[in-house]
Amino acid sequence: MNPEQQQQIFRTLLSAMSAPGEIMSIPARPEPAPLSPACAGVCLTLLDASSAVALTGMAPTVAPWLNDHCRAPMVSLDEAQFVLGMGKHWNWESSQAPIGSEEEPEQGATLILELDNLNAGIPLQLTGPGISGTRNIAPRLGTGFLAFWQKQQSQYPRGVDLILCSQDQCLCLPRSVTICRFEEA
């Protein structure tokens, strides 16, 4: 992927992180990869030799692809800056990803998760920075996600940030956002 495509994907991610829950299309379509086009584009844009990555539950072809295209060093989950995983298999009950320290909360990992679907899960309501009023989303995340998020909110500014990918789309959930179950009136 060329620098111009990377710049465009970065700006999409910057917009998505600035507008939590808003589904955005990843503009450039990278070459064939063992990941969704959105996830591959995000990796090619953000990862390089100075970003430590851990994989959980990914196809065995992903690690060599990341090594060839990003040169990102593979590390264990508790040392990762970025974690690639499958949304539906993610173990929210005992997440091992780093959440940073009180002084350096930015050391909390970015989870890049592949999802089947960004809008067919349980309806959730978001409030917080980047959202004027409220925003409703329904990404299909595994059980225990809400409990995980509420626990992580109690540890703010420590925490992880999510980039959820499905096909050629993504949405971001920065740790600053408050998430609750959306109960229709």
């Binding site: 710049q7 910057l14 992180m17 002084e103 930015e106 980047g130 004027s132």
Partner: protein
């Protein structure tokens, strides 16, 4: 000379981009970044220039202001620099810009969703004058302990009867971090609160960056009985007549005759008719 697009190499851009995403996720928190040498001296906004270089693309329209004006030496140099190393379109009109790099002002024209404000920051640490040790201020931010700053404001009130901070007025972001809004006048601070635009801040010499996402709470420090009340020249602009803009004071003669004109030159032009 052959330059990479936007001058910075791709690896440096990627490092800044990763930090920017974290900065947006933790509003008001300062992050270190590997600040590079730029072909402009420190004090010329190299922090802001590096952030702009990391985000800018060929479809952007760039506006650069210094003290509200597009035509000062600093603003012209930075605008010409980016025109040369990116070929992007530039503008002086706030409404047409996708990226606005600024020193010392926020435009009077309300910002819109999708716009990005890039602030040049000389000193990112709001507690610097009260606690010069970086190791200590980091702990205070971690604890959210801003009593030093409240004490200073209280001291102002007992001495002067008001908080005498005209520029760089300390603000709380998302009710968590004390943040320097950069040396903008206190008059501009309310524009940051719940702004539809993304605001990012770069300090080149201090190697720090931070961000305020759109629609975020940005609240000036104050006491219940001494609410935030920035001073502002009451006279209308001598050129456009605006009552609402921030004014520069111009001394006209030896007798000290004064005139007030808008500091935001684009706004002032739009209001002449």
């Amino acid at each position: 000379m052959d330059y990479n697009f936007a001058y910075l190499d791709e690896q440096s851009k990627r490092a800044i981009r990763r930090s920017l995403l974290k900065a947006v996720a933790i509003p008001g928190h300062q992050l270190p970044f590997a600040s590079r040498e730029m072909p402009l001296p420190y004090g010329w906004g190299t922090g802001g220039i590096q952030l702009t270089a990391a985000i800018i693309g060929k479809n952007d329209v760039l506006k650069v202001i210094d003290q509200g004006a597009d035509d000062t030496t600093n603003a012209v140099s930075i605008r010409q620099f980016f025109a040369r190393v990116t070929g992007v379109a530039t503008t002086t009109k706030t409404v047409k810009a996708s990226i606005i790099q600024t020193r010392h002002r926020i435009p009077e024209t309300p910002l819109q969703e999708g716009q990005i404000m890039v602030y040049q920051v000389p000193m990112p640490e709001p507690l610097f004058k009260l606690e010069p040790r970086r190791t200590e201020t980091r702990i205070l931010h971690a604890l959210g302990d801003y009593s030093l700053m409240y004490l200073q404001l209280y001291d102002h009130i007992t001495r002067y009867g008001r908080v005498a901070i005209g520029y760089d007025f300390p603000v709380m972001v998302h009710d968590r971090y004390l943040m320097s809004p950069s040396p903008i006048p206190a008059f501009d601070v309310p524009k940051m609160h719940m702004s539809p635009a993304l605001q990012i801040f770069g300090a080149g010499r201090e190697k720090q960056l931070y961000a305020v996402p759109p629609y975020s709470r940005v609240v000036p420090l104050a006491f219940d009985d001494y609410p935030f009340a920035p001073l502002q020249a009451q006279a209308p602009c001598a050129i456009c007549g605006s009552q609402h803009s921030y004014k520069d004071e111009i001394i006209l003669d030896d007798k000290g005759t004064r005139q007030y004109i808008c500091s935001d030159t684009d706004y002032c032009e739009q209001h002449r008719c």
